[in-house]
């Protein structure tokens, strides 16, 4: 049987790659894609701990489902914001956005 630490390490890899993507990407859609990677890293941890520590009511899986729903809501609102800003400012690069800066 695989030790639990392997799953945690896999999720750490995904998390760090997501952080790197968020920091480096200029395209806002790319940043949102990296955020999905980070949320998936959290999900792997939830499901793995649920399996290895054995909650009888499946708490970890249920919270993984909640995280999926919240990720869907977040990416919907984020992408609509990107499209609205693109329609007004004609740019999808995060470093061109200075509308709310003073």
């Amino acid at each position: 049987m695989i030790p639990l630490g392997f799953f945690v390490a896999l999720s750490a890899v995904l998390f760090c790659l997501g952080i790197y993507g968020v920091l480096v990407r200029r395209n806002v859609v790319g940043i949102l894609i990296s955020i999905e990677l980070i949320l998936n890293a959290a999900n792997i941890n939830l499901v793995a701990f649920n399996k290895y520590l054995g909650t009888p009511d499946g708490m970890g899986q249920i919270f993984a489902l909640f995280v999926v729903a919240i990720a869907a809501a977040a990416s919907v609102v984020g992408l609509v914001l990107v499209i609205a800003i693109y329609r007004n400012g004609k740019s999808i690069f995060a470093d061109d956005y200075n509308l709310m800066k003073w």
Binding site: L65, L79, V80, V82
Partner: protein, 162 residues
């Protein structure tokens, strides 16, 4: 055999995630993300969480990736090779992520992880549905409220004003 399967899926996940954050074309980036999420759903199947795996494929690959591709196609499709896709902080960002990863890895390596408990029950789909409707009914309702708010907000923000 089971270890080999896990190593294969984990390697696929890491490689696809790496390609997701480093691909130059944003459309390729979305496609690599789809493959990465498929591998992650493989991890869920490996952990006996069939329902979460199926939901992952349905919601992420069926819904969110489609949404991303729509957003990419509705905004500028940049084929020009001279436009930079990464900003100036690539070196400190890579360094910071690497240092954070090494730190995490040290902590993970030094922790005595629990072996799987011999009587750890496999959560059945019936049990999942029961606890979703009884113990976790309140968060479930809040999630539905959140999804409704996100839907209405997306329509209001995305509406073209005449």
């Amino acid at each position: 055999m089971a270890e080999f399967v896990f190593c294969f899926i984990a390697l696929c996940t890491c490689v696809f995630a790496f390609l997701t954050v480093t691909a130059r074309d944003i459309f390729h980036c979305a496609v690599w993300l789809a493959f990465c999420l498929l591998s992650v759903s493989g991890i869920y199947f490996y952990l006996d969480a069939e329902f979460v795996g199926v939901i992952q494929v349905l919601v992420y690959i069926g819904g969110i990736i489609t949404l991303f591709i729509f957003a990419i196609k509705l905004t500028a499709h940049i084929d020009d090779k001279t436009i930079k896709q990464t900003n100036k902080q690539i070196l400190p960002a890579a360094l910071g992520a690497a240092v954070f990863f090494v730190l995490l890895f040290k902590i993970i390596g030094s922790n005595p992880w629990a072996k799987i408990q011999p009587d750890a029950p496999v959560v059945s789909l019936k049990q999942l549905g029961l606890s979703l409707m009884t113990s976790y009914a309140l968060p479930f309702e809040f999630i539905s409220l959140l999804l409704l708010a996100a839907m209405v907000g997306a329509i209001v923000i995305g509406k073209v004003k005449r």
